[in-house]
Every structure is written in structure tokens, then in C-alpha cells.
């Protein structure tokens, strides 16, 4: 759990933290690889939502360098397979995500990230 698809959609939301609050940085993580079913239509539909730079950086940090630095114009099966693996098959099980701006630490335990804010961090 905490797949890179999720990592690509979560930003720090502490009070006043509105710039440079994405992507969150992984810290002290343990990863697991688990197979997921390949659905090219889902991936094609999701590509416009992806922050590409954040995805490739996170993938590199987790040791996967298969994605190009820019999304290609031609979405062939080979590319979609790689994207599928990066988005859906790498699971961060333990560790934390840290906001690059305010330094808030969002801990991940048993694959579930705790994104709750403390009392002084809500508006």
C-alpha cells in the first residue's frame, strides 16, 4: 500500500502550507512488490491526472528508472506496462512521507498513511 498512484495525488495540507507542498518525500521506507491486473484503458484515462516529474522522481528514489522523463506521445503497450508497474505494483509498507515545505511527517504503518493534522495545523 501507498502505491505511487496515491503518492502522486497527496499533498501536504497543513494550515498555511500551500506552496512547495507536493510531492511529499519518502523517508525510511520499506517497499514490497505485488502484482496488479493490467488495464490499459484505466492507465490511458489516468495519464492526464499524473504529475509526471513527481512520479519519475519518486520511482527513481524507489529504484525504478524505467520511465522516460517526459510522457511519450505514443502510448504503446510496452510503455503502459512500465507505467502500470510504477503506478500500481510498488507498495510502500512502512516509513513516512515528509512535506518538503513545512517538514510535517506523515507516518505510514502497515501500508496505511496517517494524513491527520494536529490541532495547531488546522485553520
Amino acid at each position: 500500500m501507498v502505491r505511487l498512484i496515491t503518492h502522486n495525488l497527496l499533498a501536504c495540507h497543513a494550515k498555511g502550507c500551500t506552496s512547495n507542498n507536493f510531492p511529499l518525500q519518502f523517508k525510511d521506507i520499506q517497499i514490497e512488490l505485488r502484482e496488479a491486473e493490467f488495464n490499459p484503458d484505466f492507465l490511458r484515462g489516468f495519464i492526464p491526472r499524473i504529475e509526471w516529474g513527481a512520479l519519475t522522481d519518486a520511482a527513481r528514489q524507489l529504484g525504478d528508472t524505467s520511465l522516460p522523463s517526459e510522457p511519450p506521445d505514443m502510448l504503446d503497450d510496452d510503455f503502459l506496462q512500465k507505467l502500470h508497474h510504477v503506478l500500481l505494483e510498488i507498495h510502500v509498507e512502512e516509513g513516512a512521507m515528509v512535506c518538503p515545505n513545512c517538514g510535517h511527517v506523515y507516518p505510514i504503518s502497515n501500508g496505511i498513511p496517517n494524513m491527520l493534522l494536529a490541532e495547531h495545523e488546522i485553520g
Binding site: 498512484i5 491526472r49 500500481l88 496505511i112 496517517n114
Partner: protein, 332 residues
């Protein structure tokens, strides 16, 4: 009929069925031992095919599920809800009050990818190392379709952008068995806020292995419901659907209760009642009818708006009404 095959009652090759129809006398005045109504007609036929969904009631039976809680939704209703979302392969669906995941399994069964979040992580996790929702999803063979589970409050959510989901499916807490909560602190009586803040530093000292639990305050049902519609307008793709249950008081319900909850760009597709007598719950399906982008709701405007609004929906303060047994308060 010339049926010459071997007789086998356990694994018959063909199944013949006989139905008798009687006048329905439920709800009418009748004698104590008067049974069914008058016989009308009889139907006889051969079973050609069973429906594809009927057997799913057994598959998703909560009693046979490896992980469930006291607020888990029964199989039949979870399946009906999944149907209302038009769950299908390639779709992305979100449950913002996922709890023990009842609707995640059925939507994933129909092929959709599911995200879940909840303000209380304990419901999603259970007591084992592997989260309970993942264990139950594995039982149904849909664990890879549960994309992720996150702990957060929808009124303070970390979603980077909107227009993400094909559907939002949820059974919001009504405040009867599970109380709705949001981050914040309950207003205290008697003490002035200053007296409280002096004694509590914003960074309370605690052991490293003790996770910090932020304070929560109750979330009143009618503001939760209108916030949910606003959140759905932000988070759904155009033509995406919001499917949720709303409990209401039977005698006080008006069509206007639902209409007053809507906002620009959202329209009701279906509204069906499950009647429990003095109260009931309505399965509401709302569609995003616009392709316009809307900002993230503030989760404050709805509450203040409903204060000044003249229309009071029947689901306002549902918790209080439920525990008072839905008795009308005497005004004189």
C-alpha cells in the same frame, strides 16, 4: 411431458418451478386466523437461467467475511449501492467514510479501482498486521483493486486536485451506532478558551511510540450531507456519481430535504427509501451534470448557510431525534 431421464433430486438436469399467486392482504384489517388472500392464478415453468447477481448475496454475506465491524453494510445493499455507481473495469471510485470497507468489496468486484479513507484508522486496520479491509478484499479476490487506504478527515483532506473519481460511494456515520467526527475541538461550557490554551502547549510531550491523536468534534448530519455534495462536485469527473445513504425521520421527510442539499452542477438521479417504520434511510444517487471545475469546499459555508436557512431538513440532528424515539416535541 415425456420426461424419460433418470430421477435425481440432488443434481437434476432440469428444474421445474411452480408459483401460486394470492391476493396480498398485508396492511388490511383481517381476522386473527385468516391466512392468505384468495387464490388468483398459478404459473408453471422450467428454470432457464439464474440471474448473475443473485448468488452474490451469498458471496458477500457479512457473516462469512473474514473482517467486519458493527457498522458493516449488509451484502444486498452494498451490491445495490455498487450498482448505482455504475462500477466497472477501469473506473476509479472513492469511499470517504470507508470504515470496514463494505462497499469497497462490491465496487471492486465489478472491476473498479477503489480508494478508501476514514478519520479513524482503527476501523480499516483491525487488530492484525495486514489491514482488515485488505484481508477481506483478498477473500473476494479483489485486493489488488483496493488502491490505497488513508487516515484523514475529509474536511481536512490532502487530495492534490479534484476531477479524479468516476464515483463516490459512502455510508456516512449517522451518529447512532457510529458518530460522525471531524478534526477540531468541542466548544467547552463554563471554561473560557484562554484558560484552556494556557495549560496545553501546541506540541504536547509524549512517548515516541505513542502516536498523537488529534482532538475531534461532532459533525452534524445535515452539514455533513451538504458538505459531501460539495466535496463530490469538486472530486468527481463530469457525469460522475455520488451514491450515499441519508437517514431521515419518516413523518417529517419532505422532497425539499434533498433539493435543499444540492448545489449548482449537481442533480438527483435516484432517491429510494428503505423504510424501518418511524425512520428510514434513503439511497441517494446524485450526478455531476457540469464539466466546470469547482474549488475545494471550505466545509464552513454549508454549516453557516443552514443556520440562516428557513428550511430545516428532517435529517437535521438525526442523532438527537433517534434517541428521543422520534417523539414530536410539544410546542405548547
Amino acid at each position: 411431458m415425456g420426461l424419460l431421464g433418470k430421477i435425481d433430486m440432488k443434481n437434476p438436469e432440469i428444474t421445474m418451478i411452480c408459483f401460486e399467486e394470492y391476493i396480498d392482504k398485508r396492511g388490511t384489517t383481517r381476522d386473527k386466523h385468516e391466512g392468505d388472500g384468495d387464490f388468483k392464478e398459478v404459473f408453471f415453468g422450467r428454470l432457464i437461467e439464474e440471474g448473475s447477481a443473485r448468488m452474490l448475496l451469498k458471496t458477500f454475506d457479512v457473516k462469512k467475511r473474514v473482517y467486519y465491524g458493527n457498522t458493516s453494510m449488509e451484502a444486498e445493499i452494498s451490491l445495490l449501492m455498487a450498482n448505482q455507481t455504475l462500477a466497472a473495469p477501469g473506473k476509479l471510485i472513492y469511499d470517504p467514510f470507508v470504515g470496514t470497507g463494505s462497499m469497497a468489496y462490491t465496487t471492486a468486484h465489478f472491476g473498479a479501482m477503489v480508494f478508501g479513507s476514514d478519520i479513524d484508522g482503527r476501523q480499516m486496520r483491525g487488530k492484525d498486521r495486514q489491514p482488515g479491509i485488505i484481508r477481506a478484499a483478498s477473500q473476494y479476490g479483489v485486493a489488488p483493486r483496493i488502491i490505497d487506504l488513508c487516515t484523514f478527515d475529509i474536511t481536512r483532506n490532502p487530495w492534490r486536485c479534484g476531477d479524479l473519481f468516476d464515483a463516490i460511494i459512502t455510508d456516512p456515520p449517522y451518529g447512532v451506532r457510529a458518530g460522525a467526527k471531524r478534526l477540531g475541538r468541542k466548544p467547552r461550557l463554563g471554561k473560557t478558551p484562554q484558560n484552556v490554551t494556557v495549560r496545553e502547549s501546541p506540541h504536547p510531550v509524549r512517548d515516541n511510540d505513542q502516536p498523537y491523536i488529534p482532538p475531534t468534534k461532532p459533525y452534524e448530519l445535515s452539514s455533513l450531507a451538504s458538505d459531501l455534495v460539495l466535496l463530490a462536485r469538486y472530486m468527481l469527473k463530469p457525469r460522475g456519481r455520488l451514491v450515499f445513504f441519508l437517514p431521515t425521520v419518516t413523518d417529517e421527510y419532505e422532497e425539499l430535504d434533498i433539493q435543499a442539499m444540492l448545489c449548482e452542477g449537481m442533480e438527483v438521479v435516484a432517491n429510494s427509501l428503505q423504510n424501518f417504520g418511524s425512520w428510514g434511510r434513503r439511497l441517494i444517487t446524485i450526478r455531476k451534470s457540469t464539466s466546470q471545475h469547482y474549488p475545494l469546499p471550505t466545509f464552513e459555508s454549508a454549516a453557516s448557510k443552514s443556520e440562516s436557512d428557513t428550511h430545516v431538513p428532517a435529517h437535521r440532528d438525526f442523532r438527537e431525534k433517534y434517541f428521543q424515539g422520534f417523539k414530536k416535541l410539544d410546542t405548547d
